[in-house]
């Protein structure tokens, strides 16, 4: 294939018009692909390709679209980022958990004078336990700033840790880790909005940074589900709100 043939191919696949039998002939000649190979790419019978080519059968819009996609892949992308950035995986779990507020309030690192305020707070921050066999409960770096941020809002916040035992852990990669928290279902939309505002305020120069957060949503009866999210900041609020809506529907259907 020479450059002119390559340019013609690019023009065919990038044009909005459906592929004609002349275009198909150009594709076959330029790529050197056989009718059988085109048939395999597009999940058609080779005889169908032959009929398309000779004009005996009109080329369907579906075939045209599929062929353009396949030839585009075969040609390879002309513009891409390099080194190839591995697309950030979205990790999202929304599963029942036994680690509700009741579990955390009886932990030895939670002093008695905090138990009542934690039980009544809208947002309760909980630590990571057993991180790499480190004996103490730790919070991700920046937890203090998040605590301060929420304190200034209309929501009340508490943390399941004494001042003396409070430690932060700074980890390796550039993922923005938010502290794990327990909230009630009622305040969840407000909390999500607050988290979104916090991210844009804390990292104003970063477009759509990767974040990870764990939010446990607790019901009045003590049952709880944990939302584990690892993905882009832009998708966070949308995905988690959809999960919350699902939870609400699930509850209503059971009533």
């Amino acid at each position: 294939m020479n450059h002119e043939q390559y340019d013609s191919l690019r023009e065919i696949i990038e044009c909005d018009n459906p592929i004609s039998n002349t275009d198909l002939a150009i594709i076959l000649k330029a790529t050197g692909l056989s009718q059988a190979e085109i048939a395999a790419m597009t999940d058609r019978d080779p005889s169908t390709i032959s009929k398309y080519r000779t004009g005996l059968n009109p080329i369907s819009q579906l075939f045209s679209k599929l062929l353009k996609q396949e030839i585009g892949k075969w040609l390879g992308s002309s513009i891409e980022t390099y080194p190839p950035k591995t697309p950030r995986k979205l990790i999202f779990d929304f599963l029942p958990t036994e680690f509700n507020l009741g579990y955390w309030l009886i932990q030895p690192f939670v002093p008695d004078d905090i138990v009542e305020s934690a039980a009544n707070a809208d947002v309760v921050l909980v630590p990571w336990e057993g991180f790499k066999d480190y004996r103490r409960a730790v919070f991700p770096v920046g937890t203090m700033e998040f605590f301060q941020f929420v304190e200034k809002s209309e929501l009340s916040i508490e943390a399941c840790i004494s001042d003396k035992e409070y430690t932060e852990i700074a980890l390796h990669s550039d993922e923005k880790r938010l502290p794990s928290m327990i909230v009630t279902f009622v305040v969840l939309p407000l909390v999500l909005s607050l988290v979104g505002n916090y991210i844009s305020q804390r990292w104003p120069l970063e477009k759509n940074p990767p974040i990870s957060v764990s939010i446990t949503v607790q019901e009045v009866d003590g049952s709880a589900r944990t939302l584990e999210y690892k993905g882009s900041a832009d998708d966070f609020e949308r995905i988690v709100l959809n999960a919350a809506a699902f939870l609400q529907e699930d509850k209503e259907s059971k009533q």
Binding site: Q5, S77, I79, Y82, M144, I161, D163, E168
Partner: protein
């Protein structure tokens, strides 16, 4: 007073640009000393706003100095030193942008905001060794008080007090381990190999950085970079048999893959320059799968 200082700082910054990044700019040492003195006086008089303004102006000059020194280091092929200084410029710039007003162009900050990441993107560093640190005690850099989740001082991290940036100082810590990462918080933590006698071996490929530095005559000339794939002429792949794996890196054979196309499709870094380099430097350089270089 600060209006006059701003104007003077903007003049100094334009001298950086005019001198093509030369750090011995006329009037710079005097202006910096003047800023330090005025900031001390403002702090003593309790004028926090004025002290903050002067911090901004000092930081503007420091960011440009670091950027220019980094450029000089890269020109001298001291790549890792240049990389580290570039990171320090980036960190200060991020603290500064938060406080600078919308008129960034007056101090050339928008230029730095665009070009520092571009320059970092053409470095070959992909593996970093990053520590996992437990911060057991944190103190405020302004008042020195210990910070806990409920007992914090009134100073906010990132704000300016007494003409200084507030941050947290880790006064007690424990290192849990070192991780190998690709997107680190600390960019200086590049992985290098060491020889038996302890000498650092730097076998990174700096050809992109070199290519750019050979063609830039000033750190303040606007340039761009775009990654794409282009066809490398088949004549540079005569050593590859049609039944061998395609040199483009796909799993197909050469015959089935790129031999049918105008060339071997390989990643290509395309630079654009606002000030064109000399004509003889404007050539496409091809590097084949053996690392051999050629121009067309």
């Amino acid at each position: 007073m600060t209006v006059a200082l701003r104007k003077k700082t903007a003049q100094i910054v334009s001298k950086f640009v005019y001198h093509n990044g030369g750090v011995n700019v006329d009037g710079l040492p005097n202006h910096v000393e003047n800023l330090h003195r005025l900031k001390r006086e403002a702090v003593q008089a309790g004028k926090q706003d004025v002290a903050k303004e002067i911090w901004i102006l000092e930081s503007v000059i420091t960011v440009h100095q670091r950027y220019c020194e980094s450029y000089s280091l890269l020109k001298s092929e001291k790549y890792y030193e240049g990389w580290c200084l570039l990171e320090r410029a980036e960190i200060l710039l991020n603290s500064l942008i938060r406080h600078a007003d919308d008129d960034l162009n007056q101090f050339g900050l928008e230029f730095l905001q665009n070009h520092i990441p571009k320059l970092q993107s053409i470095f070959p560093y992909r593996i970093f060794f990053s520590p996992e640190i437990v911060e057991e005690e944190l103190k405020c850099s302004i008042c020195g008080s210990v910070q806990t989740i409920r007992k914090k001082c009134a100073h906010e991290v990132g704000e300016i007090y007494d003409g200084e940036l507030c941050c947290r100082i880790v006064s007690k810590m424990k290192i849990l381990g070192i991780s190998i990462v690709t997107e680190p918080v600390q960019k200086y933590s590049v992985g290098f190999v060491q020889s038996e006698d302890g000498t650092k071996i730097d076998d990174h490929d700096y050809s992109l950085v070199n290519y750019l530095m050979e063609r830039l005559t000033s750190p303040y000339h606007v340039w761009g970079v775009r990654w794409k794939r282009i066809f490398h002429p088949h004549k540079f792949y005569k050593h590859v048999h049609p039944t061998d794996k395609c040199p483009c890196g796909s799993d197909k054979t050469y015959r089935v893959c790129c031999l049918r196309k105008p060339g071997v499709q390989n990643p290509h870094c395309e630079f654009t320059f606002s000030v064109p380099p000399k004509a003889e430097l404007l050539k496409t350089i091809y590097i084949n799968d053996r690392g051999e270089r050629a121009t067309d």
